[in-house]
């Protein structure tokens, strides 16, 4: 039994326990507020506009591979799609989701179908679209989609590489708005330069909490904060011990 594997299991169990604990505590005591993230504030306004002015929202889920780390940000994108779907499905131009991976495409169609059934409106399978099956063909398909449809705001929450610049450039040409975050470092650097409201690093995973996708999303953020400072303490302690040759 490798020591690192056991350490890994311990981390996961601590994370799981803290999430349950914080969720229970949050019911009884007042929890600290979340810091302001401008991108999500603008997204709120864009959702409001989608209902009142009938401007369409485009949620892009990226092209992350399912059986890897990239699937996690795909799940966050699906939670946000479900949340937005419920609040804008009564508008006359409900949101459309695009994705560049087969499984994500199917899950986005399922999400729209369940939301339509929940709200009692007619479901349209076209609202979950697969626009391409490789990174660059996904960017090309999404670029064409943005050029053809009248999109008010584009929310990019998923796994992208440098090809995401093609999508943000198409939005720029239509004077649209882009809010975006990804788990890929090069994709983040490109979004930082090209998106109106870029999400940096871990902020992409906080979308569910900021849009009210569920109590567990908020608890996750508090647990991430707790573990963040544990990690900082551990690194500092380890580095100092290494410096003095203790470790």
């Amino acid at each position: 039994m490798n020591g690192l594997n056991l350490l890994g299991l311990f981390i996961v169990l601590v994370f799981f326990g803290l999430m349950i604990g914080v969720t229970i505590l949050a019911r009884r005591r007042e929890v600290p507020k979340l810091r302001e993230i401008p991108a999500f504030r603008r997204l709120d306004r864009a959702i409001g506009l989608a209902v009142e002015a009938g401007s369409r929202l485009h949620v892009s889920l990226g092209r992350g591979q399912m059986l890897s780390r990239q699937s996690a940000i795909g799940f966050v994108g699906l939670s946000i799609l479900d949340r937005i779907g419920r609040s804008t499905s009564i508008s006359d131009r409900p949101p459309i989701a695009t994705s560049g991976e087969g499984t994500l495409g199917i899950l986005s169609q399922d999400s729209q179908r369940v939301t339509a059934k929940y709200l009692g409106v007619e479901s349209d399978p076209l609202r979950g679209r697969i626009t391409g099956l490789t990174p660059f063909s996904y960017a090309a398909g999404t670029l064409s989609f943005i050029e053809e449809e009248e999109i008010g705001a584009n929310l990019l929450i998923g796994s992208y590489g440098n090809e995401v610049a093609l999508i943000t450039d198409a939005v720029e040409r239509k004077d649209g708005m882009t809010l975006g975050g990804t788990d890929n470092l090069t994709g983040q650097a490109v979004l930082f330069a090209t998106a109106q409201e870029p999400l940096i690093g871990e902020e992409s995973y906080a979308g569910g909490a900021y849009l009210g996708a569920g109590r567990m999303h908020n608890s996750s953020l508090y647990v991430q904060d707790i573990l963040r400072w544990l990690l900082i303490g551990l690194i500092l302690l380890g580095a100092i011990l290494k410096l003095f040759g203790v470790l």
Binding site: M66, L67, Q70, N162, T186
Partner: protein, 528 residues
């Protein structure tokens, strides 16, 4: 001249007329003598405000109910039912209304076919006395504008007189006693024996108010019209900036590709590239090399150009290659790279190299390949059995390979930071194991440097050598000498990066400062 006054409208009529010339009311010679004739014409035409009734108040022709045109509007059926001819509602204050009849139901006694019947003339033709009366009124001289009487001012008493005048033997046309004649109305004031007349209301509207009304109406009509979107100019500031950048960059590259004679000096020394060179020099003859191909076709130019000098050096020492990939495009990119004609050596499939194809499942697939290569990829992508010694000799590139650390070197061509980390982390336990002779070398895109360099810098090293981007490839070309592919790109690359830095720096500052300056200038002008 002896005159008699009409009991309905009070107008003077010559004696002997049975019907009033103005309102066609029935003239009864004995009763009318009691009305005071002092009610002269001027008072009739003066409205309450003392203002003379200007003709404009009856614009567009004054046609009244007797106007032949307006009669046609009422079908025979209405008449047949004995219904009163409903006065044409006149909204003369509405400009453009087609009929401008001011009529007052009470002035007009119904021309009901039943009346004709009762007088015994069944021929259905209009009686001659009526025709004469109609012809007199139709001549222009006698046509006078009638002064509309305010219905609301009419005393209730007159209404009762009007009912009494109706012939006593009148047949009941509605209600349960329909068809009977001589029925006394229960309460004349309340029980209406016919359909309530449509009273025209005449609002005194001044000229100014009329203008306002027109304005309001034009506003209402405009609301419905689709307003064309303000036409965006086809060429905006965006386009000019984009075209300018494209033209400058393309011209610079074409110029340096076509006209620059001597190639600029290649980078003198790059630590990572030098280390790879050293490791390849140490390889034994016919070394077994595992090559991971994980980049997108879009970055083929950069990765291939960077990798060509490394593989030329490797092939010069007879290295035998096993190609593997965790992305669908990998196997085809590998074939294209080996047969693109850019390499100095031509390798033969099955002899110098074998292509194991694509391992699906990302990290999970790679873990299973690293733990068990034969089980994960038993066949090459062409369907040949690669490892099986029973069905014949294993292919030369995999002879003696049972597990991953039997390979002398692992080279990874990669453009994505996540894929690079997955490979490094899965291979790290093997590479950092002191007993392992294998070394891990990365040939990557320039965008990966901050992600992969820590693995090269850390101790122990999970990555033993690093060739990053075109700069790394150019440094490697200088180490092995000869006319390598990076050299062709190097001058244009230098020109392109310089121009890009210049545009971003100068253009960015100008794009920010100029509007700020003009805004402050405008602000000062407002202040002065």
């Amino acid at each position: 001249m002896d005159e008699i006054y009409c009991p309905l409208c009070g107008k003077p009529n010559p004696v002997g007329n049975k019907f009033c010339e103005y309102c066609l009311g029935f003239l009864d010679n004995q009763e009318n003598n009691s009305i005071d004739p002092g009610f002269t014409k001027e008072e009739e035409t003066r409205d309450s405000g003392g203002e003379p009734m200007a003709d404009e108040q009856h614009p567009e022709g004054s046609g009244d109910i007797r106007d032949p045109d307006s009669r046609d509007q009422f079908t025979e059926e209405d008449k047949g039912l004995g219904l009163e001819l409903p006065a044409a509602d006149s909204y003369d204050w509405m400009p453009g209304s087609s009929s401008n009849v001011e009529s007052d139901q009470d002035d007009i006694s119904p021309i009901s076919p039943f009346v004709g019947d009762s007088e015994g003339d069944d021929s259905g033709e209009i009686p001659s006395w009526l025709n004469d009366a109609l012809e007199d009124e139709s001549s222009p001289e006698t046509l006078e504008f009638e002064e509309p009487i305010e219905v609301s001012e009419q005393p209730l008493l007159e209404e009762e007189q009007e009912i009494k005048q109706k012939s006593p033997g009148k047949l009941e046309s509605a209600g349960p006693l329909a068809g009977l004649s001589g029925v006394l109305s229960a309460e004349p004031g309340v029980a209406r024996i016919r359909k309530p007349g449509a009273y025209s209301t005449k609002i005194r509207v001044s000229e100014n108010q009329q203008e306002h009304v027109k304005l309001l109406q034009s506003l209402l009509e405009d609301e419905g019209q689709p307003k064309p979107l303000p036409r965006k100019s086809p060429i905006s500031q965006q386009h000019v900036l984009r075209w300018g950048i494209a033209i400058v960059l393309l011209l610079a590259i074409f110029w340096s590709v076509l006209f620059s004679e001597d190639q600029l000096a290649l980078p003198v020394y790059d630590e990572g590239s030098a280390e790879v060179n050293r490791l390849i020099n140490q390889l034994p003859d016919n070394a077994r090399i595992l090559v991971g191909i994980d980049y997108e076709p879009g970055l083929a130019d950069e990765i291939d150009t960077t990798a060509v000098p490394v593989f030329n050096h490797l092939m010069s020492q007879g290295g035998l290659l096993t190609l593997i990939s965790t992305s669908p495009n990998g196997p085809i990119l590998a074939e294209r790279f080996l047969h693109s004609g850019r390499l100095e050596y031509e390798y033969i499939n099955g002899l110098d190299y074998t292509n194991l194809g694509y391992i699906p499942g990302g990290a999970a697939g790679l873990i299973s390949f690293i733990e068990n290569p034969q089980g994960t990829t038993p066949f090459s992508i062409d369907g040949f059995s690669v490892w099986d010694s029973e069905s014949g000799e294993p292919l030369p590139p995999v002879v003696g390979i049972n597990q991953i650390n039997d390979y002398d070197m692992i080279i990874l061509l990669v453009d994505d930071p996540d894929l690079a980390r997955i490979w490094i982390e899965q291979l790290s336990p093997i590479i950092t194991d002191p007993l392992t002779l294998s070394s891990l070398v990365l040939v990557t895109s320039a965008q990966l440097e901050p992600v992969v360099r820590p693995y090269y810098e850390s101790i122990p090293q999970p990555v033993n050598g690093l060739v990053v981007g075109l700069r790394g490839g150019a440094a490697y070309s200088r180490l092995i000498g000869g006319d390598q592919l990076p050299g062709k790109f190097w001058n244009a690359f230098g020109m392109g990066t310089f121009i890009a830095a210049l545009i971003i720096l100068v253009g960015g500052l100008a794009y920010y400062v100029v509007p700020e300056l003009s805004r402050t200038v405008r602000g000062q002008e407002k202040v002065n």
